[in-house]
C-alpha cells in the first residue's frame, strides 16, 4: 500500500524509542507513513484492487497511535470521493475498479475517522447497501452475487456508521441468516450455512450481532470456549483447529471475546508476547507470525490487538468496528458489548 501521496513531511523525531522498550512505536509509525515509498510500484499495482482498505488499515493504525496528523486528510478525502460510483453509490477500491461492499465499508470508516461523512453522498451509499440484501436476509458483496457473512457484517457496519439502520434493511431476516450460519458442533460461524467455523467469520458474525443488539442469540459459553481454545502455547491465536497462529486471527478472536465480555478467558500476557514477537524491529510493521515479512494489514491488527489488551500509549479501539473508540463515541454509536460475568 502506498501512502507516499498522502504523507506529509515528517516532523517528529523518530529516534525516540526508549519510552516503549517493547513496542517499536516510532518504527511502526514510520513504516505506515512510508509504506511504498522505498519500493518500485509493482506492489502498488498488485494491491490496487484493495487500496481503499489499505488506506483504512493505515489511517486507523496511525490514529490509534495518535499520529493521524502525519497523513494529509484532504488528499485522502479527495481520493475517496473519486472512488464513489456515481451509478450505484458504492465505493471502488480505487479509480477504474468496480464498487464492492468491502471497500464501501473501508471508505465510510475512513470518513468517520476524519469526521467527513458530509463530503460524500451518504444516501447513495444507503441505497447501495440495502439494494444488496437478498430475500433470505443475506447480503451480496456486489452485483455479482457472492453471499458471505462478511458482507452481512459490512452492511450493518456501514448503516450503523451512517446512522441509517432503521427502515433501510430487513434486520430480522438479516439476523436470521447470520444465525443460520452458526454451527451446532462448536458454536462458531462460517461464511454460509454449513460452512466450517472460522475465527475471521466468527468476528464478522459476533460483530454483526453486536451491531444489531442481538448478542443474546449466542451460546456464549460454548463459543467462548472454542475461541479460547485458539490460543496456542506460543501465546498466539489461530483461526481454526490445527492451523498456525497469526496476528490477524489474534485480533479476530480477541475482539470477539471482548464483545462477548470474555477477554479475560485467555492469557493476555502470552498473547502480548506473541504479537510483539511479530514486529519487524528493523523496518517496523507487524508480520502474520514471528520472523515473516511485515505488511500493513497485520500492522493494524497487531496494533489493534495491543490496544484491546490495554497497551500503554495506544488509544482505545472499538472491538466491533475496529476503529478508535473516540470516533465511535463522537458518532453516538453504541455497539452491544456484554459485561464481564
Amino acid at each position: 500500500m502506498d501512502f507516499t501521496t498522502f504523507a506529509k513531511p515528517s516532523t517528529v523525531d523518530t529516534n525516540n524509542d526508549k519510552s516503549n522498550s517493547d513496542l517499536h512505536f516510532w518504527k511502526h509509525v514510520e513504516y505506515i507513513e512510508n509504506h511504498g515509498k522505498d519500493q518500485d510500484d509493482f506492489e502498488y499495482c498488485m494491491t490496487e484492487f484493495l487500496r481503499m482498505s489499505g488506506i483504512y488499515w493505515g489511517v486507523t493504525a496511525l490514529d490509534i497511535m495518535n499520529q493521524l496528523d502525519r497523513l494529509d486528510r484532504k488528499s485522502i478525502i479527495d481520493f475517496i470521493r473519486r472512488c464513489q460510483c456515481p451509478v450505484t453509490g458504492g465505493f471502488a477500491p480505487c479509480e477504474g475498479h468496480d464498487p464492492h461492499m468491502l471497500y464501501t465499508l473501508s471508505a465510510i470508516q475512513i470518513l468517520c475517522i476524519y469526521d467527513a461523512l458530509n463530503e460524500i453522498d451518504c444516501e447513495a451509499v444507503v441505497r447501495y447497501v440495502s439494494g444488496l440484501q437478498q430475500f433470505d436476509g443475506s447480503f451480496f458483496g456486489d452485483k455479482w452475487g457472492e453471499v458471505d457473512t462478511r458482507f452481512s457484517f459490512c452492511a450493518v457496519a456501514i448503516l450503523t456508521l451512517l446512522g441509517r439502520m432503521e427502515g433501510t434493511i430487513n434486520v430480522e431476516r438479516a439476523v436470521k441468516f447470520v444465525m443460520s450460519c452458526c454451527n451446532q458442533t462448536d458454536g462458531g460461524f462460517g461464511s454460509k450455512p454449513g460452512a466450517e467455523s472460522h475465527a475471521g467469520l466468527i468476528y464478522c458474525c459476533v460483530g454483526f450481532l453486536s451491531l444489531t443488539q442481538s448478542l443474546h442469540l449466542l451460546d456464549i459459553d460454548k463459543l467462548g470456549w472454542w475461541l479460547c481454545e485458539r490460543q496456542l502455547t506460543s501465546g498466539g491465536l489461530n483461526g481454526r483447529p490445527e492451523k498456525l497462529p497469526d496476528v490477524c486471527y489474534s485480533w479476530w478472536v480477541l475482539s470477539s471475546l471482548t464483545i462477548m465480555g470474555r477477554l479475560h478467558w485467555i492469557s493476555a500476557d502470552k498473547l502480548k508476547e506473541f504479537i510483539l514477537s511479530c514486529q519487524d524491529n528493523e523496518t517496523g510493521g507487524f508480520a502474520d507470525r514471528t520472523g515473516n515479512l511485515p505488511d500493513i494489514f497485520h500492522t493494524l491488527f497487531g496494533i489493534g490487538a495491543l490496544s484491546l489488551l490495554g497497551f500503554e500509549g495506544l488509544k482505545p479501539i472499538n472491538p466491533t468496528l475496529c476503529m478508535p473508540q473516540y470516533v465511535i463515541d463522537r458518532l453516538g454509536i453504541k455497539p452491544q458489548i456484554l459485561p464481564k460475568p
Partner: protein
C-alpha cells in the same frame, strides 16, 4: 511478490504495442493524480497489459482478443476482480465455449487456490452451464494439496447443495478423516452431509460409535470431541449426558489416565448437566463435587492458560445450584 516479473519480455511474450492486431488500440495509462513519476523498475509488462486493459474497457470492447488480454492480466494479478467481471461480460457477449473456460479455470485454480475471485468465477461459469460434473473432482484435487482450503470446501458445499451431489460424499469424508483424523474441515463436512440426510436416532447412534472409535485412536482431538458433542446435543435436545455408552466411554478413558483437556471439558459438561437435573440433593452434591474437582484440575494442571474460564464454569454451577 516481485519475483513474478522475472520472466517478463521472455521470447514467447510479445508486447501489445508490437502486435499488429492491437495497432488500433491506444493504451490508457492510469491517471492517479499525483502518482510519482519514478523510474518504473517493477514490470513494463504489467503496466502495458493494464494500460491496454483500461483501453478496451473504455471502448467496451468485447472480442476474442480482449478475452485473451484478460487472461494475460489475470496471470499477472488473479486477485483483480474487475478483470474477472469484465471477462465474464466478454464470455457472455461472445457466447464462448464455457467448457473451455472450465479447463482454463482448472489451471488458474491450481496456482491460485486461495483466491476468492477464481472460485467465484468458477461458480458463475458452472451455473451458466448448469453442469457440476467436474466440481467434485476439482475440489478433491485442491483438497489433496491443502485439506483445509476454505475456498475449496465452500465451493464443494455449494456444488453439493445446488446440484444435490450428496450421494457419495460420506465416503469421501471418511477417506479424508482416515488420512488426517484431526482435519476439522472434514469433520465439519461430515456434519453437513448428515444434517442433509437427517440425524435420525439410528444415524446418531452410528455416528457416536464412529466418533468414539476415532477418539480411541487420537484422544486429544478437538474436532472429534466437538463433533461428538454436536451429534449428542442434536439427538438429546441440547444435552450430552443421556447416552450411557458415551458416559462409560468417557469415564473409562479418564480412569485409564487420559487427561486430554477435551475429555475433561466433556466430562465437566456431562456432570454439570446431570447435577442440575438431579432432584436428590445428596446425588447432586456428589456430581457438583466432580465438576469442581475437574475444573480445579483443569485450571491448575491441564489447561492453566484458560484457568479463568474453568473458574467461571465452576462459579456458574455454584450460582445455579444456589438459585435452585
Amino acid at each position: 511478490m516481485s519475483d513474478s516479473d522475472s520472466d517478463d519480455w521472455s521470447e514467447e511474450w510479445i508486447p501489445y504495442s508490437q502486435r499488429a492486431e492491437w495497432a488500433d488500440v491506444v493504451p490508457l495509462a492510469q491517471d492517479d493524480g499525483e502518482r510519482p513519476i519514478v523510474a518504473i523498475a517493477y514490470s513494463p509488462k504489467f503496466r502495458e497489459v493494464f494500460d491496454y486493459f483500461r483501453a478496451i474497457i473504455a471502448h467496451k470492447e468485447k472480442s476474442p482478443r480482449a478475452l485473451e488480454l484478460t487472461a494475460d492480466a489475470l496471470q499477472l494479478n488473479p486477485a483483480n476482480y474487475t478483470v474477472w467481471q469484465y471477462r465474464r461480460d466478454i464470455l457472455r457477449a461472445l457466447g464462448s465455449d464455457l467448457y473451455e473456460e472450465l479447463d482454463y479455470l482448472e489451471e488458474v485454480i491450481r496456482d491460485n487456490a486461495k483466491n476468492y475471485q477464481v472460485w467465484h468465477h468458477r461458480r458463475v461459469i458452472v451455473e451458466m452451464l448448469n453442469n457440476p460434473s467436474k466440481e467434485l473432482e476439482l475440489t478433491e484435487v485442491a483438497l489433496e494439496r491443502d485439506n483445509k482450503n476454505y475456498h475449496a470446501w465452500q465451493h464443494r458445499q455449494w456444488a453439493i447443495k445446488a446440484f444435490d451431489l450428496y450421494e457419495n460424499e460420506l465416503t469421501f469424508v471418511d477417506r479424508l478423516i482416515a488420512e488426517d483424523i484431526r482435519n476439522n474441515s472434514a469433520w465439519n463436512q461430515r456434519f453437513f452431509v448428515l444434517k442433509h440426510f437427517g440425524l435420525t436416532p439410528e444415524v446418531v447412534q452410528r455416528e457416536i460409535q464412529y466418533t468414539m472409535n476415532r477418539i480411541r485412536v487420537v484422544k486429544n482431538n478437538e474436532s472429534a470431541w466437538n463433533y461428538l458433542g454436536g451429534i449428542l446435543r442434536h439427538g438429546d435436545h441440547g444435552t450430552v449426558n443421556r447416552n450411557v455408552e458415551v458416559i462409560s466411554f468417557c469415564e473409562e478413558l479418564y480412569a485409564s489416565g487420559v487427561r486430554s483437556p477435551y475429555l475433561l471439558a466433556f466430562l465437566i459438561d456431562l456432570y454439570k448437566e446431570q447435577c442440575l437435573q438431579q432432584t436428590n440433593e445428596a446425588d447432586a452434591e456428589v456430581l457438583s463435587k466432580k465438576v469442581y474437582n475437574l475444573c480445579s484440575d483443569m485450571s491448575k494442571n491441564h489447561d492453566v492458560v484458560r484457568r479463568k474460564y474453568w473458574q467461571y464454569v465452576a462459579d456458574q454451577l455454584k450460582l445455579k445450584l444456589s438459585e435452585k
